[in-house]
């Protein structure tokens, strides 16, 4: 058993979970969604095992570092945080149908890591600047933030497809009530915002210890700040009368586009100090 085998297993298990969730939605069978939940839990276990195994393998290769150092590893970790947060949310809110919008995101993250040929899954040694305990603190907090925003993004879709009339027999009528959707989106954004804040701060403290500058307007730094601004806007808009429901959901979606650009766009389109996602 090696890490890449376990991680591809996790990819397929997450795919299966998405199939169950979407299936339960299409055929209006709540029980199937409950099954999807347990499949996600199994995927999370495989994902966790894969990350730990990869961590150990890097020590066997003599490079010894936490598996957060390149695009492949960060995507695998992104799926892990999103899956872990989702399991927690479904466990707490007992609304099994909401997984339909989140499970595909979890699957897509880890699948993209494995199937994009330009992303290498080789375990590489760490460059000197990355050799710091701040690496672990920075990556974990940033990705918890990203996971919160990803879930908020998934939940925001419910605003657009849930029919206003509760009596209707349409496909999407089974979605949770408006209060729950609102609460879920807000809670996820609050969670994401706190962790993105800590992520930016740990990154700054780290930059100050590696380069002597806590902030240098590097594109990745700037884009993370832009994302932070968008979610700060979301939190302030809630205080203004007239901003709720679809309008706010739209801001949450724009925020997630900011997250995606910070994560991928900056690496592909702009140059900077970050060698990984």
């Amino acid at each position: 058993m090696n890490s890449s085998l376990l991680l591809s297993a996790a990819t397929f298990i997450y795919a299966l979970a998405s199939v169950f969730y979407i299936g339960s939605f299409s055929f209006k069978k709540q029980a199937v969604a409950r099954f999807g939940f347990w499949v996600i839990v199994i995927g999370l276990v495989a994902n966790t095992g894969g990350i730990l195994l990869r961590w150990m393998e890097s020590y066997h290769m003599g490079y010894g570092h936490a598996p957060f150092s390149n695009m492949y590893e960060s995507l695998v970790f992104f799926s892990w945080t999103a899956a872990a947060l989702y399991v927690f949310v479904e466990f707490k809110y007992k609304e099994s149908i909401i997984g339909v919008f989140v499970s595909p995101l979890i699957f897509l993250g880890i699948a993209y890591a494995s199937f994009d040929p330009s992303i290498t899954s080789k375990i590489m040694p760490l460059i000197p600047a990355l050799k710091s305990n701040w690496l672990i603190a920075h990556v974990i907090t940033c990705f918890l933030g990203y996971a919160g925003f990803a879930l908020a993004f998934g939940f925001s879709f419910m605003y657009f497809i849930k029919p206003k009339d509760p009596g209707t027999k349409r496909l999407f009528a089974k979605l949770p009530d408006w209060d729950t959707i609102d609460e879920l989106t807000y809670q996820m954004i609050v969670f994401g915002f706190l962790f993105l804040t800590i992520g930016i701060i740990t990154g700054s403290v780290w930059a100050n210890s590696a380069w002597g500058k806590y902030w240098s307007w590097d594109p990745k730094e700037t884009w993370s700040l832009i994302t932070w601004f968008i979610y700060a806007i979301f939190l302030h808009l809630r205080l203004i009368r007239g901003w709720y429901g679809k309008n706010l959901a739209l801001v949450s979606i724009i925020g997630f586009i900011g997250v995606l650009f910070t994560y991928f766009g900056v690496n592909f389109l702009l140059s900077g100090l970050h060698s990984y996602g």
């Binding site: 460059i127 002597g212 601004f229 900056v266």
Partner: protein, 456 residues
């Protein structure tokens, strides 16, 4: 409420509004994108080549080439600060009265409409239920306030009043961060320093202005070491630095990436490194015509004669990066062959490719056999007295966000009324300024406990 039509009041209202916050944040987010798309802090030629003269003129007018220091960007930050200050003053007095009231008044009417209100009848007498309820409530929510009304008894408890201050802590942290940034840019500097092994320096050059900055001490690089992985990538590099004061050695310290030296408010970071030109090297000269192989140790700039008196070879120098058809071949020795038949060629010997000179297919082939590998260390020297403020801001920001988002001001009320012979009607309801879910949970748990202890 006072009249709000004087000009000063209108300005105050303008800066106190959340709408202004949103507009400012939108503008900050939107304009920040510009600086990630347009090249920053480059030379004019670079802009003209990339965008043309016309666009460059516009870039210059709007300071887009260093836009995060541009006046209009800083103005946006100032607006945000004024907004935060005015907004906080405007709301703080009201919040203060809620947090520190003269006396806590219980208004049962406010709990009547609570969605989480639950009611049940207990067969115990009111006195006994009240005793139990007091205990349960004190265990869950703290100090219990009692109020006797005509209809019955009210028990009230609350927690987290102070949590309303969280948002002010977040806002103060933003001001603290910006103050730290201001102090840093006014009183600090960032400079580069290149030191060969054995060299000393007491002056560094600002990375932006290139102006010299005198340090309060002298730095000497005793030794530089670099370790490589088997992939060829650098694993670790470190410099042994000695600080000299008044020509006396003060102390010596090794610095690595992520492990800087900090002394007298100055920080010295290991940033980069490179090879320096060696004083001498061992060359092998192969004469393919007569089959002779000669080995010479030549000083940098030195000349030796070729086999059979066919001419001279000069060791002309060393470059850290040799560009060959657009590829960087790395460190290379430069030499010159001057043969008696009148031919004079420059030859390049990249250290990574020892037999590179064979490709030239001349009568003489030169190879570098060995040399004293010496490095220079690339240091970044910074001073930033704003850092303590920025770090305080970071801490306040995390604490403030945590309190704002996850701690709420919760109050719970239990009402008891006589209901028929010997039985008591009990209702429980809770209110919170946010995080309603957790209040609902508290109410549920209270109801369950009360039912358990009152034998329902």
């Amino acid at each position: 409420m006072k009249q709000k039509d004087s000009f000063a009041d209108q300005i105050w209202m303008f800066f106190a509004s959340v709408k202004l916050t949103v507009y400012t944040l939108v503008l900050l987010a939107g304009t920040s994108i510009i600086g990630t798309v347009i090249l920053q802090n480059a030379r004019p030629e670079a802009y003209i080549r990339l965008y043309g003269q016309g666009v460059y003129n516009m870039i210059q007018v709007l300071d887009l080439d260093r836009m995060y220091q541009a006046w209009w960007f800083l103005l946006l930050m100032v607006v945000l600060c004024v907004n935060i200050v005015v907004c906080s003053i405007d709301r703080l007095s009201a919040t203060w009265k809620i947090i520190f009231p003269k006396n806590i008044s219980v208004n049962p009417r406010r709990f009547e409409k609570a969605k989480n209100r639950q009611q049940f009848d207990s067969h115990l007498s009111m006195d006994r239920v009240a005793r139990q309820a007091r205990q349960v409530l004190a265990g869950r929510a703290g100090k219990v306030i009692e109020k006797t009304e005509d209809a019955g008894l009210l028990l009230y408890a609350e927690k987290g009043r102070w949590s309303r201050l969280g948002v002010y802590v977040v806002h103060a942290s933003v001001l603290m961060l910006l103050a730290g940034a201001l102090i840093g840019s006014a009183l600090g500097f960032k400079a580069n320093l290149r030191l060969d092994e054995g060299q000393t320096a007491d002056t560094v050059f600002d990375s932006h202005t290139r102006l010299p900055i005198k340090l309060p001490f002298t730095v000497r690089c005793n030794d530089f070491q670099v370790k490589f992985y088997d992939t060829g990538a650098p694993d670790e590099f470190k410099s042994s630095l000695t600080i000299l004061e008044n020509n006396q050695e003060s102390f010596t310290e090794n610095i690595l990436v992520n492990h800087p030296l900090r002394y007298k408010g100055i920080n010295i970071f290991q940033a980069s490194y490179g090879a320096t030109a060696p004083d001498e090297a061992v060359f092998e000269i192969i004469d393919s015509e007569i089959g002779a192989i000669e080995t010479h140790t030549i000083k940098n700039g030195g000349v030796v004669s070729l086999p059979a008196g066919a001419g001279n070879f000069t060791f002309e120098g060393f470059v850290p990066h040799y560009d060959f058809n657009g590829h960087d071949l790395g460190e290379a020795f430069i030499g010159r062959l001057d043969t008696t038949d009148g031919r004079n060629v420059q030859i390049v010997l990249p250290t990574k490719f020892p037999t590179f000179d064979k490709m030239r297919k001349g009568r003489f082939t030169i190879e570098v056999k060995s040399w004293d590998q010496a490095y220079y260390t690339g240091l970044q020297v910074t001073k930033d007295p704003g850092v303590p403020f920025v770090y305080t801001g970071f801490l306040l920001m995390i604490i403030g966000c945590w309190v704002t988002f996850f701690v709420s001001h919760q109050s719970v009320c239990i009402g008891l009324e006589q209901a028929g012979s010997g039985s008591t009607r009990v209702w429980v309801a809770g209110r919170a300024n946010r995080n309603v879910q957790s209040t609902n949970l508290t109410v549920k748990k209270l109801v369950k406990e009360l039912k358990d202890v009152s034998g329902k």
